[in-house]
Amino acid sequence: MNLIDAIVQGILLGGLYALFAAGLSLIFGVMRLVNIAHGDFIVLAAYIAMVIIQSTGMNAFASLILVVPLMAALGYVIQRFILNKTLGDDLLPPILVTFGLAVVIQNTLLTVFETNTRRLSAGPIETASVAVGPISLGVLPLLTFAVAVGLILLLEVGFFRSRIGRAFRATSDDPATAQAIGVDTRHIFALAMALSFAVIAVAGVLLAVRSNFDPFSGPARLIYGFEAVIIGGLGSLWGTLAGGIVIGVSQAIGAQISPAFQTLAGHLVFFAVLAIKPRGLFPRMD
């Protein structure tokens, strides 16, 4: 019974990891950029939410009304004025610049908020649960999972049905030609990053009501999201959901063996998938 319970909790946890992964996958899909500071921006979003909640008394989820646009604007600016300058044939600059951003964010958060761990309060929903047969499911994990599925669905539909999604795909296929037909690729890249940051904002708030965070919680979130992306298969949004679930379930089962194995189990499964199916479980057909 414990095992089934662990698997179910792991699947729900996977939803959160899929949210971490979706933002990464999105920008990689559009501009082949990997944001090493992704996890740190998730944590930054959590702190911004915290400040908003403390100063306005808003509910944690209501704070998203402000956190999402703030983060999206930040993403747009960072891409437009910093990261666009790093794109090109040389792979090192984007990696090193986002790596530098990660360190700067961590230490700035440390300077401003110190090392104390924090948590956002979302009220009674935190402890609420529903019983499904013999298993008790937390309402918050269920909600997180539903939000993940909903957001991925929305992104997927937007990608294939909207004008801006069309521009994302065209730019991803061939940026030079997109530019020649009138697509301002610098703006498109910045919009993709803004969208990624909107997802980051949601992920950050959900993370912060679920678990403790501190200025150095970012890297682990980047790693879980990254593992989900690679396991799911590059460029596939639904793959990131599957990858997130694989990592979530692995961690939940690992934790059953020993708390020390929780994270380790996820890493080992990641390396196993890399060894057996290097292109991930759901590689995009090209």
């Binding site: 950029l33 990997v34 090493i36 910093i82 300058k85 790093t86 044939d89 040389d90 792979l91 090192l92 600059p93 984007p94 990696i95 090193l96 610049v97 986002t98 790596f99 530098g100 951003l101 360190v103 700067v104 961590q106 230490n107 700035t108 440390l110 300077t111 890297p219 980047l222 790693i223 990254f226 593992e227 690679i230 020993s258 020390a260 194995f261 994270t263 380790l264 890493h267 080992l268 990641f270 390396f271 890399l274 060894a275 290097p278």
Partner: protein
Amino acid sequence: MTQRLSKPALRVGLGLIVVAVIFASAPLWAGRADLRLIGEFMSFLALAVLWNLLAGYAGLMSVGQQAFVGLGGYMLFIGVIFLGLNPLVAIPLAIVAGAVAGAIFAPLLFRLEGAYFAIGTWVAAETIALIFSAIPTLGAGAGMSLPVDAVRAIADSRDGREAVVYWLLVAFGLGTVAFAFALIRSKPGLSLMALRDNALAAGSVGVDIWKARFWTYVAVAGASGGIGAVIFLQKLRISPTSAFSLTDWTVVIIFIVVIGGIGRLEGAIIGTILYFVLRELLIDFGAVYMIVLGIAAILTMLWSRSGIWGGVEKRFGWSLLPTRRTRH
């Protein structure tokens, strides 16, 4: 060929010997605190040169070098405490362990490209760190100390031990510079550079290139293991947090190389000197100096990708360690 290459090689060789003699004689004229500082400088220099080989020359952007430093440190403690080895004998063991770990992870990590490779190396480091922190015999999360008897095996007096550790660090520091210089001027080294400039753009990696990258990665992993062993021989204590510190063994090292000049041997040297100066100045400000380093590295990548040494080269045409490399 020999005619063309031997002159600068000879000059650099002689220069290194002079530098080595000066540094090696330091225990005769420098105090304990100064020795420690120079020793620490040498360990950072070695790690910076090695990371520069990986990222600047082989195009392997690793953010997981702490895996091998930490592993080397732990192998020293395991060798001394559980196998009863003399610490000086345990250092080669640490080198072998680092190289073997590198050889195990490389085939998996090489399946990831660019930034994903970078994060992959990070996961590898986390994995090794988690394994060590889960082993109760090794003190789990708390770590362990080197017993006094074992340390005495190096030298009886404290000054003697400090001197030996110092010499080891100098050997690693200058040794990696000499090794990197020789490697870059060798044929495999030249193909490594060609590979970096092309494979990065083309994204296609052939068999020979795979091999060149593999051996570079393994050699750097081994050397990092050795340096880790000496660093923790000096510290006498190890824990998963200190051994596998991302900040100490990778973040700072990356910033050193980026600011000094990536893909330039002199860059690692200048960067390390600058780092130590900056650290002495800003040490009281804690996190601020990491923020300053981070911003400096970002600005370097945005405005002058070849770093400080690249600027010096362009402006004055200087080259301390001529490797006949031209860029752009």
